[in-house]
Amino acid sequence: MSILAITLSAGSLLSGAAATELQGPVMGTPGAGGNFLTRLLEWLGPPQAVPTWAIALTSVLLGVAILVTMVSLIAMWSVWMERKVSGHMQCRFGPMYAGGWHGWAQTIADGVKLLLKEDLIPKGADRALFWIAPAIVLAGIFGALAALPLSYDWYFARMDLGVFTILALGSTTTIGVVMAGWASNSKWSLYGAMREAAQVIAYEIPLGISLLCPLMTLGTFSLIDASREQATLFGWDCGLGWAVFTNPFNIAAFVIFWIAALAETKRAPFDLPEAESELVAGFMTEYSGIRWSFFFMEEYAAMFLMSVVGAVFFFGGFETPLTALMRASGSDGTLLYSLVCFGTLVLKGFAGVFLMMWLRWTLPRVRIDQVMTMGYKYLTPLALLCVLLTATWEFARHLVMG
């Protein structure tokens, strides 16, 4: 099962990341440019001595290993965080015993428990689809995460259309969810799957359109370039030239983006596909054990991914005054600089995740017709209006500032 998921994610990674990387020099020019996998391989030995296919294969396997670790770590940390956040919002502590300090090992213990649980497939389920659905869900999110740069010079693939790759691969998880719902041979699962399909189709549109606003402000689709663009505020390299600061309509665009992202990641108040009190557990009703945990991991990885996309295109990506200060003192290009950029992105990502949790534990769930009304009747036109206004603003800015 896990092997299947990992093979699939390796496939998506191959197509998504390694393939684009192979178009450029795989072995790269030593030192400058080149992704960190290539650099790691260089450290292993002189490139001439190793055949190209071996380097490509090792590169892919390493990438998969790093991604799997990353997704697991994100999921583990987020689950623990969700429990603590919800606990403290609800006058309780959340896990306190496992591992000692504030139950830090609770998620690990849960993971072990899930691994050891009986592998149940309900009678009458479509076994093949039931098997493959969690893998597809996870593969989609692996592929999307592969397109995510971790720092200015840490990335799996330098993609000029990075944000489109992320949105495209990220939305393939829906297929897995619909498959899971259909294959489960449960009416509740079917409801959940159909809700998911309807909801994601409705919210892909405002999500994409609202992202166009910062894309126009920044003039790039690449996540790395988008971050770099946001370093300067009116020509001053202070690390605060964030898209929301340079164009007021980006704030409105962010609100639309955020609502759509909540709907995309099936988070409350848009958790209708799961809808615990209505559909028992929605599309996951019949899943248990490690298969169920794949859906869980996907949810948290998708939350992180959406938060990071939001952080990169609206809130400066790697840029903070700290990075600007490091550049001014000439320490850019060092390992520390890369680490600071990486840390900034992770912090911003988890700030978004925290916001999602905060909303989840505060708001009631909306109804399906309200979800549809909001997506089609309000968010989509508003996002289009935002695009128009952003374009006008940018045009005026270029007229005034030349």
Binding site: E278, T362, V366, R367, D369
Partner: protein
């Protein structure tokens, strides 16, 4: 799933002649046959608040029919009442509406006492009974508040509600040793006097609760999403409420001003009402149609505050004294029959007791408010969405232990 597979929608041309539209286009007719999906909500389902089953017929998200099935928790409570002694039956009353056990004890005790004209209930006992019954009403409405939030998808209010409920349970534990099934109010009075300082603690609880109540109101009752989800859903008109024999918040939510505590007063409620200590919240249709889910919910939340006022009044007038009348160890109730209805958190809890002068009742019939209120589901649910049906079940605030007894 089998239903879906058996009735796969078949789409083909019906063979009917295409109609020519005014603009020259032709309109074809298709034979499209779909079937409703029958789905069991329950017996194990988070929205049914216990072991109840609602058989739903749905067309996509639309509910076209609903039929509640009950009896999963049937424990022959009434039959037991005919086989055990008067006082021995008291613990069984705890178990019909386990969220309002004090009120159940009270209802049974009042019914039995009504057959014993010589028995005098001390005033302190009456006031202690009132305090406990109203505290229990708050505890029960807190559960209604919290679980309704859960039904709508808001988790956090549930925990806030439980925080205060926990305090009430601690108070009950101090006075009678139990946290859920009290058997504290009994024939002739109450089991024992309040421990020293207990009444002060109740007063302290009232002070804190008044603050927290405002929090509840802002967090859920006036929350925009919550209002969107509950207004104009499951509308019960006043006529419909009469026809179904609804009582309690279900009836008052429809704008009918009827409360047994005022209209057929028992214990000290007449005195409390005459003193102007409380009012009776009635649905106003403040957020949409009168008698919708929001109104019922609002009535419950308002009632918590009124209960606090009643408790405050009782705390003011309570004096030292006896807490139980002159009741023998083995009670023999004079021959006769009697029906006493009291205002439970969920509506009118009626006890009909029939005695032939012996140690055991001839008949002990319970009119359970949840059971009567449940009947309205079948009429309310068709035509709503699946999520609304959950909201409607939640707004009836049934306790399955009571519907089945």
């Amino acid at each position: 799933m089998t239903d879906v597979q058996q009735h796969t929608p078949s789409i083909h041309l019906s063979g009917e002649e295409p109609r020519v539209l005014p603009n020259g286009e032709r309109e074809f007719f298709f034979d499209v046959s779909t079937s409703d999906l029958e789905v069991n909500m329950g017996p194990q389902h988070p929205a049914t608040h216990g072991v109840m089953r609602v058989l739903l017929r749905t067309d996509g998200e639309l509910v076209t029919g609903a039929q509640p099935h009950l009896g999963y928790l049937h424990r022959c409570a009434e039959k037991i009442g005919e086989n055990v002694e008067w006082l021995q039956y008291l613990p069984y009353t705890d178990r019909y509406d386990y969220l309002a056990a004090m009120n159940n004890n009270l209802g049974y005790s009042l019914a039995v006492e009504s057959l014993m004209p010589d028995l005098e209930i001390p005033r302190r006992a009456t006031l202690l009974r009132t305090i406990c019954a109203e505290l229990n009403r708050i505890a029960s409405h807190l559960i209604a508040y919290g679980t309704y939030g859960l039904d709508i998808g808001a988790f956090t209010p549930f925990f806030y509600a439980f925080r205060e409920r926990e305090w009430i349970q601690a108070l009950f534990e101090k006075i009678c040793g139990a946290r859920l099934t009290y058997s504290f109010i009994r024939i002739g009075g109450v089991f024992n006097d309040a421990p020293p300082g207990w009444l002060k603690e109740v007063a302290a609880f009232c002070d804190v609760f008044e603050e927290k109540w405002r929090e509840y109101y802002d967090l859920l009752v006036t929350n925009h999403i919550f209002v969107m989800r509950t207004k104009d859903i499951g509308v019960i008109s006043a006529e419909m409420a009469y026809d179904f024999g609804l009582t309690g918040p279900m009836l008052r939510g429809s704008g009918v001003d009827f409360d047994l505590r005022r209209d057929l007063p028992y214990m000290a409620y007449k005195e409390i009402w005459d003193a102007g200590a409380f009012r009776i919240p009635v649905g106003r249709g403040a957020q949409g149609t009168l008698g919708d889910c929001w109104d019922r919910f609002d009535v419950r939340v308002q009632e918590m505050m009124e209960s606090i006022k009643i408790i405050r009044y009782c705390l003011e007038v309570i004096e030292e004294g006896e807490v139980i009348g002159d009741v023998p160890k083995v009670i023999k109730v004079p021959a006769g029959e009697s029906y006493v209805g009291i205002e439970n958190p969920r509506g009118e809890l009626g006890h009909y007791v029939h005695s032939d002068g012996g140690k055991v009742a001839v008949r002990c019939r319970v009119r359970a408010p949840s059971f009567v209120n449940l009947a309205v589901l079948e009429d309310l649910m068709p035509g709503t969405l699946l999520a609304d049906s959950v909201a409607i079940i939640g707004s009836t605030d049934i306790v399955v232990g009571e519907t089945d007894r």
